[in-house]
């Protein structure tokens, strides 16, 4: 599908991820997904071809097994966890995205796990790579995700005593103009703020 046809099919606005789902292209034959299916025949996985990588979606219960197999299986050999990020899809849930790379085979894959908005718990990938440590701490404080099994899930980038709300969630707007921040502080402090947290 060419670029123009893709642009015609979407609806502008934040609902574009629905349009994305409709445009999903299955991965080509002989891609990394076939190797995953060979290595893990019993795990339910959905895959599609994004612009560069193959994206594999798994469920929360299987994700550690999938990541561990990806790291240790010699056909896959994904020894490098490049990036771990969270994405907020509002009422569709929160997603954790793992990007993996293999030095020897020189292929990449993206693994995604989605969890519902009300229950943002995901098993921690520190069981597989130590280098997932700070990425998960950051995703936890930015989105409110809880990584079960993480050794030290304390806020990393935000000040320790100002983790009232999660900045990268979509329902947190940016500050508007310069005086906004001062007014907000003055007004809220006057109100007494008896236990009322900034949402």
């Amino acid at each position: 599908m060419s670029s123009e046809e893709r642009l015609e099919k979407f609806r502008p606005g934040r609902d574009g991820h629905e349009a994305r789902k409709a445009l999903r292209v299955p991965p080509p034959r002989g891609s990394v997904f076939d190797l995953f299916k060979e290595a893990l025949p019993d795990v339910p996985m959905e895959a599609y071809q994004a612009v560069k990588d193959v994206v594999i979606e798994v469920s929360r219960g299987d994700v550690i097994r999938v990541l561990r197999t990806a790291k240790e299986d010699p056909r896959l050999d994904f020894r490098w966890l490049r990036c771990l990020s969270g994405v907020d899809y509002m009422d569709k849930g929160l997603e954790v995205v793992y990007h993996l790379h293999s030095y020897t085979r020189n292929h990449d894959v993206t693994v995604k796990v989605r969890c519902p908005q009300g229950d943002p718990r995901v098993p921690s990938a520190t069981a597989v790579w130590r280098g997932a440590d700070w990425y998960e701490r950051e995703a936890a404080e930015m989105f409110g995700l809880v990584f079960e099994g993480h050794p030290n899930l304390v806020p990393l980038l935000l000040p320790e005593d100002m983790t009232d709300h999660h900045p990268l969630r979509k329902d947190n707007p940016l500050a508007e103009i310069e005086e906004w921040q001062g007014d907000r502080l003055a007004g809220r402090a006057e109100e007494g703020a008896g236990g009322e947290e900034e949402g």
Partner: protein, 372 residues
């Protein structure tokens, strides 16, 4: 050098606070020290967390170029390159040949300036305060003059655009760059003669902060930190972006993974960058710098992409989730120093406090990248 004593010792927490003379930015480490040896280290970051990712979600991609500049402020061209290539791949744009060549010239010159800054700051940490710092900044000034002639700004360029470049280079660009490369070669040799075989420098850096290849891969290190441990992985050779596959250059690899190896790897990378720039200057032909029909509003089709580039510090990557508008739905910045800094604790524990400073300097940290 163990000394037997019956004294009751105490492990003291030492705070190397957000402001310290090592000029690495606002980074705080709390060391637990037993005598002079470091027993435990807890790094605290986030003192420069400015919300680059959140701001980029509310900005057009081209406005986001300015934010990426300021995130990786010592190698802005590489940060821009990651963003711009990601957007081009999402949109399926073809970049003209001349634009690619100029991008590579700029990116490699930027690698030289960034490694010069490393040499300066690192030698200040190792004790050579002043001399190597001033040499390094002299070389940086020559190259920054070129950047200023081309882009208009000394440090925050904002020159690359999705599709090509913002404007063309001046007419005397090739002669100017060749003249500057003469200075640069001499400058690299100056620093080499000053530091590499220097006994004091070697005593301070040999055998310090060693990390094995398995540990480095597990922590997710990249760039010169990984190559110094012996892993021959360079994104320019493994997954060439731009037109790096047409250039002939070597990838220096270290042996022990200690601080001295990291310095040697970066020094040699500067020389290889000079080689690449010379080849790119030979191959520079006339032509357009932007594709023919570029729209005003850059609406990317719905999709997602992760694009990494080989920045001077490691892999700088951008993960864009696009929902079809001209603003990204989610822009995640994968910064090299964030991953490199995770390995700090394992590298420092067991060494002296003075070595902790040297090891921190060898990571070549840019706090803007770590905290975003």
């Amino acid at each position: 050098m163990a000394v037997e004593h019956d004294l009751e010792t105490m492990e003291i927490p030492v705070n190397m606070g957000p402001q310290h003379p090592s000029t690495h930015g606002v980074f705080r480490m709390v060391l637990k020290v037993d005598g002079e040896r470091v027993v435990e280290l807890v790094p605290h970051i986030g003192y420069l967390h400015r919300g680059a990712e959140k701001l980029c979600e509310n900005m057009d991609y081209r406005q986001g170029i300015g934010i990426h500049d300021r995130t990786e402020y010592l190698a802005p061209f590489h940060a821009e390159l990651a963003l711009v290539i990601a957007v081009e791949k999402l949109m399926g744009l073809e970049v003209p040949e001349r634009a690619e060549q100029i991008r590579i010239i700029m990116a490699e010159l930027n690698r030289i300036t960034s490694h010069m800054m490393f040499v300066g700051a690192f030698s200040a940490d190792a004790g050579v305060f002043g001399t190597a710092f001033t040499y390094a900044f002299r070389e940086r000034e020559y190259i920054q003059d070129i950047f200023e002639e081309v882009t208009g700004d000394r440090t925050m360029y904002g020159y690359f655009r999705p599709g090509g470049l913002a404007w063309d280079v001046p007419d005397d660009f090739v002669e100017r760059v060749r003249a500057v490369l003469e200075h640069t070669r001499q400058g690299i040799d100056d620093i080499d003669n000053l530091l590499t075989k220097n006994e004091v420098f070697m005593a301070r850096t040999r055998g310090i902060g060693a990390m094995s290849a398995e540990e480095a891969i597990d922590w997710g290190l990249s760039g010169p930190m990984l190559r110094a441990c012996g892993v021959r992985h360079d994104l320019r050779k493994a997954q060439p972006y731009c037109i790096y596959d047409r250039f002939d250059f070597d990838v220096p690899v270290g042996q022990y993974g200690d601080v001295y190896d990291r310095y040697l790897v970066r020094l040699e990378e500067m020389r290889q960058s000079v080689r690449i720039v010379e080849q790119a200057l030979e191959g520079l032909r006339d032509g357009p710098i932007m594709p023919k029909k570029m729209r005003r509003r850059l609406r990317t089709p719905p999709g997602e992409i992760y694009q990494g580039v080989e920045a001077p510090r490691g892999e700088y990557g951008v993960y864009i989730v696009s929902d079809g508008t001209d603003k990204p739905y989610r822009m995640k910045i994968r910064s090299a120093c964030f991953a490199n800094l995770m390995g700090l604790r394992d590298m420092v524990v067991g060494h002296f406090v003075a070595d902790a400073v040297v090891i921190l300097g060898s990571i070549d940290m840019v706090l803007g990248e770590v905290d975003r």
